[in-house]
Symmetry: C2
Subunit: 172 residues, 2 copies
Amino acid sequence: MRIAIDMDEVLADPIHKFIQLYNRDHQVPLDLLIHPGTEIFQNVPAEVSDKWKEYINEKGFFRDLPVIEGAVDAVQKLQQHYEVYIVSAAMEFKNSLEDKMDWLSQHFPFISWKQIVFCGEKIVDVDIMIDDRIKNFKDFKGRPLLFTSPHNLLITDYERVDNWQQVLKKLL
Amino acid sequence: MRIAIDMDEVLADPIHKFIQLYNRDHQVPLDLLIHPGTEIFQNVPAEVSDKWKEYINEKGFFRDLPVIEGAVDAVQKLQQHYEVYIVSAAMEFKNSLEDKMDWLSQHFPFISWKQIVFCGEKIVDVDIMIDDRIKNFKDFKGRPLLFTSPHNLLITDYERVDNWQQVLKKLL
């Protein structure tokens, strides 16, 4: 059985980094609350809400993202029972490609290049997909697991996992 | 219907570039013949046969590859009838990622980032796969089209296409 695991907001935490950058440049508080069902840019002052596009397209943005709690241990455990693939919609941001490869080598050294997929649309032939964006479940015929993130909190029509402990409980 | 189209030796010509580099550094003739069923490194002097690894890992190697004859026109025509995806096993060479994106933007500007997949194993959910490497057809449930390249000339157990004209004849 094959599992596709998303990167941003599933393995890596870009929201934390966005808040730090908005804090540095626009005094947004470090404990900014992302309201359920909204994106980061809807929670910062309107006049700087577009800044996230600049941040995300900068070289280095994805290189030092924090690892989501429990992700390394969980992926390692899943790998003993499944064919694991890391599948990231990285193509939207050309400058992210090398950063994401380096980040994976650093934090998930047990993932080989053969298991990494950077794409636009997630047209992967897998059995289970763990992702925080339901647009990636469109046309997906396998079992989708919606990984909780502030922006998807109001969505009710998918099997949900709140953290990596819950993923392991469901899949092992 | 979805088609996955490989890059190297299908859209882009790395063999031509390898020969140029071997010629520049080791006087290999520019009209070097790649014997049927062999790779480039088996056709150069043994003492420099490993040099290809150095070349392919250099930044810029993939940026200025020639386009395979007829590829641009053919992909454009296929796109009118199929969902086209460019699927390249680029992950083996981290330095190729940005070069390949730039090369596609230059020569195939009508391909959006949503249609690009860089991967290790080609675990794509498509109906047709055009590729020169049969290892990518392993586990593939759709229709494989083996795109002729010197190294695969002795393989007989796949439907073969020798050039882009033949692809269009079969698929349009």
